[in-house]
């Protein structure tokens, strides 16, 4: 029952968004059913559609989880974008610097680099908030700019691959993460979906176990639910803020595994298609639950993949319709706050002195 209610609003939001999008397509003078058929059909075709959809979903699962963990501690991490850049660059840096090393050592080291760098970048606003009370939203946004600029700087002046493209030299082959095509018959290896997708799923499980099954997760969630009560229960709020932001940053940093170790085999400047920001929508639509994050990330990936085809094959409708759909979904999900607002008002009434 509770589970169904949790599902209801995201579902309504998605359906409503598709209806609004459909009306829009109709107004432009195209057939919405045809456009949607194209969109979903291309995103779910085998092997290209599904392969790319899973590839696009991978960074969104990581960033969705990142936002989720911070949110469960009552923090809004708008800095996943910066954290994933730092993580990606760090993993590339290790992959380049230790290129000769065997895969047995290099892959774990590269993973560690992504996790530690992302975590450190996330910890900065956490420490600033815990120590000085400065708001994490402002600091994470600012740190995004710094992260992107720093990575560009190091790419340009220290690790640049000669040529017109802003990218680093290649990482050692020992750092490569295998593509799923290697294991799945019928899925060509040119499709970049790689083991990072499975790692992302594993992270969902780990995040779930951490938050809901351990005492640390209990402390983190208690802080997010009611900091005064957490303090009363002997939980250090400052410590929880730093822990949550560090874990959040680490999860965002793991986008680098998918992007650098599994796809381009180098750091590519400006690679992120706003994954960090879309992660906020993913977490929101996924009700800040790991399972929800997987579903929401897949949905956004479908839209992203399908959009490319709608762009190419439909006469009037362009890829922008995907943005419209995403935006409308977020709008409707946000509107739920209004509904749940009236529900919570009802809750208050029940408790009010009568």
């Amino acid at each position: 029952m509770i589970f169904l209610r949790q599902l209801l609003f995201p579902l309504i939001a998605v359906i409503a968004a598709f209806i609004v999008g459909g009306i829009l397509i109709l107004l432009i003078g195209d057939n919405p059913i045809e456009a949607y058929r194209l969109l979903l059909g291309s995103a779910l075709s085998w092997p290209d559609g599904i392969g790319y959809t899973l590839f696009y979903a991978t960074p969104l699962i990581f960033t969705g989880l990142a936002v989720l963990v911070a949110f469960r501690c009552g923090l809004l991490n708008i800095g996943a974008e910066g954290q994933l850049y730092v993580g990606a660059f760090a993993t590339a840096w290790v992959g380049i610097s230790l290129a000769g090393m065997s895969a047995w050592f290099l892959v774990p080291l590269c993973f560690l680099a992504a996790i530690v760098a992302g975590g450190a970048w996330g910890a900065i606003p956490g420490i600033l908030k815990a120590r000085f009370g400065s708001h994490e939203v402002i600091n994470t946004i600012m740190l995004n700019f710094i992260a992107v600029a720093l990575c560009s700087y190091f790419t340009q002046y220290h690790y640049k691959n000669p040529g017109p493209i802003m990218e680093t030299t290649a990482i050692g082959s020992g750092a490569h993460v295998a593509r799923l095509g290697k294991f799945i018959p019928g899925l060509p290896e040119r499709i970049p979906v790689n083991l990072a997708f499975l790692i992302a799923l594993l992270c969902c499980l780990l995040v779930y176990l951490f938050l809901w099954r351990t005492k640390w997760g209990y402390e983190l969630r208690a802080t997010g639910s009611n900091p005064s009560a957490a303090e009363y229960g002997g939980i250090s709020i400052r410590k929880q803020i730093i822990i949550a932001m560090t874990i959040s940053g680490s999860l965002a940093g793991m986008v680098g595994i998918n992007e650098v170790l599994g796809y381009r085999y180098r750091y590519y400047d400006g690679f992120s298609d706003n994954y960090g920001f879309t992660g906020i929508a993913v977490a929101l639509l996924g009700r800040n639950h790991p399972v929800g994050v997987i579903v929401a990330a897949l949905l956004f990936a479908v839209l992203q993949r399908g959009g490319i085809h709608v762009d190419g094959f439909s006469e009037y409708v362009t890829k922008d319709i995907v943005q419209v759909l995403q935006g409308t979904i977020i709008l409707f999900v946000a509107a739920e706050a209004f509904f749940s607002g009236s529900f919570s008002k009802f809750g208050l009434l029940k408790r009010a002195k009568v």
Partner: protein, 504 residues
């Protein structure tokens, strides 16, 4: 004056008012009593246009009226003073009173006329307030008068007062009642929502008793008594007095020396306080709210930053001043906080998750090397607490939010009692709790005392603190101004000390 006829109101699946009919005669003081959740406020908010009834009608002066907003209610001469005042603290009394009904033309506000009008009103009803004073500088009692004036200024003939005495000292309550009587003499009608039976008997002409959304009785005050009203409210016989044997006082459990808490703004909220609590006694602290009680209990619980604090606290001789909240709980200090929603509960968490707050790190509740929550142990403990303390509904998977105030409080008390504390800090144990649960909580507190625990009790309910305590300290502006025997001292004496009078 006003009549509610068969008012029914549902909130979702909850029937808040079920065919409620109340007749309030003009020129009377009419009390509406009932436990929390009985539907008193809902009925009155419908009369004031805050909510719309699902069915039923409202008659004013015998005419059926549609009241869909507070504006309609005011136009018909109905005013309401809420439990939490709705005043703009940085504005003057006059500005607050005219807010929304400003005299003068659209462009210019005629505050001189407003002041004169207010002066006239306050003389008429002997509501002494300076129209030019800024509201934040007024006492709570004065602020309440401003609220009354606000309603009178809008020509209210009927005033609905929601729990008006909750924030007042005994002396202020007396003054307030005098004002109400004066208003009745001037022909006004007053409806007072309350759960304090002594006040009902002291002030009202008629009483309507509500239970579970229904009117279960409407009686003349002179024909009834406290026991009958309590029985109507709860639906069974209730013990109104606290039965307790004399305390078997042991050695000193807690000793506090020169405790001072300075607020971030530099004000001393607690000023050099020293006292002791012994094993097996309940030490009560009486005082008007906001005189340092919160700071005292939070300082003892380890919730005040060390930088704001000076002095010394010892539990059984051991210096605990530098220990944090977790460490203090570990050595046997339990804490039932004054505000259960803010401090005591994680409202969105389940009862079982709430039942481990503060002890969630103890090895007994964990498995796998003290990291993973041991569901089985936690559920067993939660079930035990729920059973021992009669928490209803007895479903530990419900969120704490779904429980009534009384049951939330019982859960907290159960959780803290389970620590087998040496010292229990308890603040407002029965605030917003219905009469049946109050009786239960009082019995539990006395039982804990009889087991040899030292109890420090803070309550704004003077009757509660005098009935439960074995010794009573009175606090005023962060200082202890009196130490009395509650069996001997009268309510008047204590009330006088609470106002800072040094007659004692």
């Amino acid at each position: 004056m006003i009549e509610l006829r068969n008012i029914t109101k549902r909130f979702g699946s909850v029937l808040a008012n079920d065919k409620v009919s109340i007749v309030v005669k003009p020129g009377t003081i009419h009390a509406i009593v009932g436990e929390n959740g009985a539907g008193k406020s809902t009925a009155m908010r419908i009369a004031y246009g805050f909510y719309k009834a699902d069915s039923g009608e409202i008659l004013i002066d015998g005419q059926v009226q549609i009241i869909s907003t507070p504006h309609d209610a005011i136009a018909l001469g109905v005013g309401m003073v809420h439990q939490h005042f709705m005043l703009v603290e940085t504005m003057t009394v006059a500005e607050n009173i005219v807010l929304g009904a400003e005299p003068g033309n659209a462009a210019a506000l005629d505050l001189t006329k407003a002041s004169a009008d207010i002066q006239k009103l306050s003389e008429e009803f002997k509501l002494a307030v300076n129209p030019n004073a800024v509201v934040e500088h007024l006492s709570v009692g004065q602020q309440q008068r401003v609220e009354l004036l606000k309603a009178l200024y809008r020509h209210a003939r009927l005033l609905i007062l929601d729990e008006p005495t909750a924030v007042l000292t005994p002396q202020e309550v007396e003054e307030f009642f005098a004002i109400l009587r004066r208003m009745r003499e001037q022909g006004k009608t007053v409806v007072i929502i309350t759960h304090k039976l002594s006040e009902v008997l002291a002030i009202s002409d008629e009483v309507t008793v509500m239970r579970d959304g229904r009117v279960v009785g409407q009686v003349q005050t002179k024909d009834t008594n406290a026991a009958e009203l309590a029985r109507l409210m709860v639906g069974r016989e209730v013990l109104l007095r606290v039965e307790k044997p004399d305390a078997d006082v042991g050695v000193t459990a807690l000793s506090v020396r020169n405790l001072t808490v300075t607020h971030a703004d530099g004000n001393k909220r607690l000023d050099n306080i020293s006292f002791e609590v012994h094993k097996g006694e309940i030490l009560g602290i009486a005082g008007v709210e906001g005189n340092g009680q919160t700071e005292l209990i939070e300082a003892l619980a380890g919730l005040v930053a060390a930088s704001l604090l000076s002095g010394e606290m010892r539990l059984e001789g051991r210096d605990v001043t530098r220990l944090d909240a977790r460490a203090r709980r570990e050595i046997g200090i339990a804490h039932i906080p004054e505000d259960r929603h803010r401090r005591g509960l994680l409202l969105d968490f389940s009862l079982s998750e709430n039942s481990i707050l503060g002890v969630h790190h103890r090895p007994g509740l964990l498995s796998y090397g003290g990291v993973v929550l041991n569901d089985k142990a936690i559920r067993k403990r939660a079930d035990q607490i729920i059973a021992d303390f009669d928490v209803r509904p007895a479903n530990q998977d419900l969120p704490a939010r779904a429980l009534s105030g009384g049951n939330q409080q019982k859960l907290i008390i159960g959780r803290e009692f389970d620590l087998r504390p040496k010292l229990l800090l308890v603040s407002q144990p029965t605030r917003g709790v219905d009469i049946g649960a109050i009786e239960f909580i009082h019995r539990k507190l006395v039982a804990l005392r009889d087991d040899g625990c030292a109890v420090l009790l803070i309550s704004a309910e003077l009757e509660e603190v005098t009935a439960l305590s074995d010794r009573l300290l009175i606090i005023h502006e962060g200082k202890i101004v009196g130490d009395v025997d509650p069996k001997v001292a009268t309510i008047e004496e204590i009330g006088l000390l609470m106002t800072g009078s040094t007659k004692h």
